[in-house]
Symmetry: C2
Subunit: 214 residues, 2 copies
Amino acid sequence: MVKKTREATRATRESLLAAALQVFRERGVAHTRLSDVAERAGVTRGAIYWHFKDKAELFQAVCERGTMPVEAILAEASQSALRDPLATVSQLALMALTQLAQHADTQAMFDVIFHKCEFTAELAQVVAKNDADRAACLSQVQRLFDQAVACGQLPDDTDTFLATHGLHAYMVGLMHEWVLNPQSYDLAACSEPLIDCYLAGLAACPPRCRPQPG
Amino acid sequence: MVKKTREATRATRESLLAAALQVFRERGVAHTRLSDVAERAGVTRGAIYWHFKDKAELFQAVCERGTMPVEAILAEASQSALRDPLATVSQLALMALTQLAQHADTQAMFDVIFHKCEFTAELAQVVAKNDADRAACLSQVQRLFDQAVACGQLPDDTDTFLATHGLHAYMVGLMHEWVLNPQSYDLAACSEPLIDCYLAGLAACPPRCRPQPG
DNA sequence: TAATAAACATACATTCGTGAATGTAAACTC
DNA sequence: GAGTTTACATTCACGAATGTATGTTTATTA
């Protein structure tokens, strides 16, 4: 039983990615042996080395598959109308948390990223992509906050850079901690009030721009 | 050159902990070889195995040394007067961020914890301690929020559980992201407005208690 | 339908890191 | 100041994981 049809090959690759995500979550990325992943997927290590160069490339593929939905959310939101920038930000955040709350694979993905992975030199590819994604996300949100200031939704002297970083940190922290204990509270139900709370803080008492020195 | 005086022994242990923190940060915990740590500390692996049972115990010691100051902050704050619960929370958060902003060792520590470590089975000890610390911190803060509600500083129907988890997530996210780019903004200067922003959101639009079903 | 290449399985060599075992010299105890 | 223990250094043997090389069978292609 060797050379499969094209569809079977795709299926093998998919089951490898799914198995890798599971084993990564159970054992941590650095501690997983490729033989474990192969066994979980019902193949041998040879199959892994056929589809991926090494563990780093496998991990990268797992990451790209896992972050696709979130990136799709961001891309979709960038199309959205800009009559109400703050509402756009709110919906963006809400959709991200909802995606996390509702999809087990997304939970597994973020569990791995946040708690079961060491971002070291050999994963430089993934780190670089993460950095690029974060930068894109941040600049997109900051643009929305700038529009919110222009609309009068936020005070004139709002430091939108800090506001953006604050919101991003909030989102990261919520995901980081919630995946540790998904049963601690109902994320799907609580996302909206949690997000509204931060945005209300921004409207009421945002970080202010300091007069630039010089 | 063997058997040192007691003070020299303490110094060796200290330099091992410092070396471990550095190497953990550079290579990630799972990828560091104890020989690297020994070399960095100017000793051999024998010295490590004398002071610590294995890598997990070394990591645990590094963690305990690194989280001491933050725990001291919490302990100190628990003594504080309770006339102004929200101000106490604010100062608590501010001190934690200030500690991070001002001490290179604390930055290294959180960089390792957040980005250079896999929390897997073999580190169960550390995970358990983390969980206990987090639970203690959360309940302490929630008590302060409860007092704030009693004082009228927060609305009567504030869901203090969610408020606490939100603040905790915010803090975790701020530290998690800032250590990735300490030069991205001046944390020491921005901590206060960032914290005030979230607390203002709590006062203005907190997560509300839902009527319990049944 | 013959030839080629895909999609793995199998077998192998090698390296790497660990833990334990042992050596040892100096500090501490009495 | 002799014995004991400390605080390491050195050496060794072992397993484990990796990457590669090769085998094998079947889909695909011309």
